[in-house]
Amino acid sequence: MNINFKNRKVNYFTRFGIYFVLIFQCLIIAFPLFLMVMSSFKSNREIFKAPFKLPATLNMENYRKLFLQSNYLRYFLNSIVVSLAAILIILIASSLASYAISKYRFPLNKFIFFYFLAGLMIPIRLGTINIMQMFIKLNLYNNLLSLIIIYSAYGIPAGILIFTGFMNDIPNELSDSARVDGCSEIGIFRKIIVPLLGPAIVVVAVYNLIPIWNDFWFPLVLINSDNLMTIPLATAKLFGKHETNYGLIFAILTSAAVPPMILFATLSRYFIKGLTAGAIKG
């Protein structure tokens, strides 16, 4: 499929050079992560005395402390609730809007599309002052609902870009014949379009999940109760609290890092599709 520079012969000397650079970069990326995970299984003493050595035993003490003595499972649950709810809203709102933009001709069609796309270039945090004022007024300050709403608004532009690109490739004949058969407009969307959206749904979900799961700014500004914290905010709080206990801190960082990394390692091709949607055709 890839017609590119790969079918060109590369001599041994060049190949050695290429591998040297690629492996060197690999070490630069992987070593800090390796150090983080490894140190989370060590005691403070071990971390200082033998920082590069593998842990002598698989010491779970740091994790035991983290999960038993802090509200960690609660933070995790908060992150899951916020992310899933926001992703669900993004999927529904942006697939519906994309259907209208992609499949109907109406005045301002193009304008509305670009109005949504503008959101990809604007950092939503520049409106934080009014967002905070609004949520205080709505009595949603220090409430997970405020995060869900903000992340939904944040994810809709990318959702619309990905969904419209996908729907433009669905032929109109299918919906036209259903319309002749007397199917309603909502029926066409539900019964004909949605079943075809499978891959696009995964792309939109994965592409938005990573930044939403990792966001620190909005919890920092909108949440102040301990039992409403999401993982990134809790990580900062716990980091400040245990700054001298290195083993525990590495367990905190590893616990925050591992779930998105596993997700990413398995689903990164969908993330990449979302990232390059619109930018690169084909």
């Binding site: 520079f5 800090p32 590069f52 270039m121 990449i272 990232l275």
Partner: protein, 304 residues
């Protein structure tokens, strides 16, 4: 008549389909942006400044001590930060992408590894490197000693000369997967005829990059730089996690994001917050980002 009714009904459905997305996006993203800008013309205590003051906040920012110094400092630091990230992340990413699209095995593996940090929260990355560079643990300094570079050892995050470059390098470590993905996709998209033509011409690698790869991926280079620019000019977390919201040491790492946060939500840090002034900073950030996006779009679309 029948036809007209049907069209009207369809219009109603189009509106219905657009409504949820338009509502959420407009009410919670677009309107807050403009309402926040409107706040920059108000002053007063608390989260809702209520006294109209015209351009007073801007006058304060551009002429009064210490705001003027903080503003120009944040601006210069942000430019430097962007330039350094561009080199460490985008230029490096470009050359790695060229290597990754050569005839070598294991490309998928390398790409996955380079992309892995992208999954992490900035806050996790910032804290991790704060520990690695911390002189108390001294793990980075130990590595330097092992490879015989001990003369370089210094308080990396405490020295005003090295602090900002270190933050740029850490950001590049975190995000280098993004330009790599864009550039490899762009290079893989170059058509066979063009590659064939260059092979016949016997062009060397530099000629290939200059005359073939670079012009053809120019729009993608534009996108990568826009993403970097927008990201860097609204960046906050890397400063917060590595150098606190004060942009230590001595404001050497203070950029727009941290300046905005401190000014707007500062009360928690024993500084009286000034929401109106913060709104003015956010407005300046918005204008700068807009100018940057337009410049990079123009540059990447120009054909010469």
């Amino acid at each position: 008549m029948e036809m007209f009714k049907k069209v009207k009904k369809v219009r109603y459905y189009i509106f219905l389909f657009l409504l949820p997305a338009l509502f959420i996006y407009t009410i919670f993203m677009i309107l807050p942006l403009f309402n926040s800008m409107r706040m920059s013309f108000y002053t007063g205590k608390g989260i809702v400044p209520d006294q109209f003051c015209g351009f007073q906040n801007y006058v304060k920012l551009f002429t009064q001590f210490p705001f003027r110094e903080r503003l120009s400092n944040a601006f210069l630091n942000n430019i430097k930060f962007f330039l350094m990230v561009s080199i460490f992340q985008n230029v490096t990413g470009f050359f790695l992408a060229i290597l990754l699209t050569r005839n070598v095995k294991g490309v998928k593996f390398f790409r996955t590894i380079y992309f892995l940090p992208t999954a992490l929260s900035v806050i996790v990355v910032g804290f991790l490197f704060r520990l690695i560079l911390n002189p108390v643990w001294g793990i980075f300094d130990k590595i330097l000693r092992v490879i015989g570079l001990d003369f370089l050892i210094r308080p990396w995050l405490g020295d005003p000369v090295t602090a900002l470059p270190v933050l740029a390098i850490v950001t590049a470590w975190h995000m280098i997967g993004i330009p790599i993905i864009f550039f490899t996709a762009g290079i893989d998209g170059i058509s066979e005829e063009i590659i064939e033509a260059s092979r016949i011409d016997g062009v060397n690698i530099w000629g290939e990059i200059r005359h073939m790869i670079f012009p053809l991926v120019k729009p993608i280079i534009g996108i990568v730089f826009i993403l970097t620019f927008v990201g860097n000019f609204s960046e906050f977390e890397i400063v917060y996690s590595m150098e606190t919201a004060y942009g230590n040491p001595a404001y050497a790492t203070d950029i727009f994001g941290s300046f905005f946060y401190r000014t707007t939500f500062g009360t928690v840090m024993n500084v009286v917050s000034d929401v109106g002034l913060g709104a003015a900073i956010a407005t300046i950030m918005f204008i700068l980002i807009l100018i940057g996006v337009i410049i990079f779009l123009r540059l990447s679309q120009r054909t010469d």
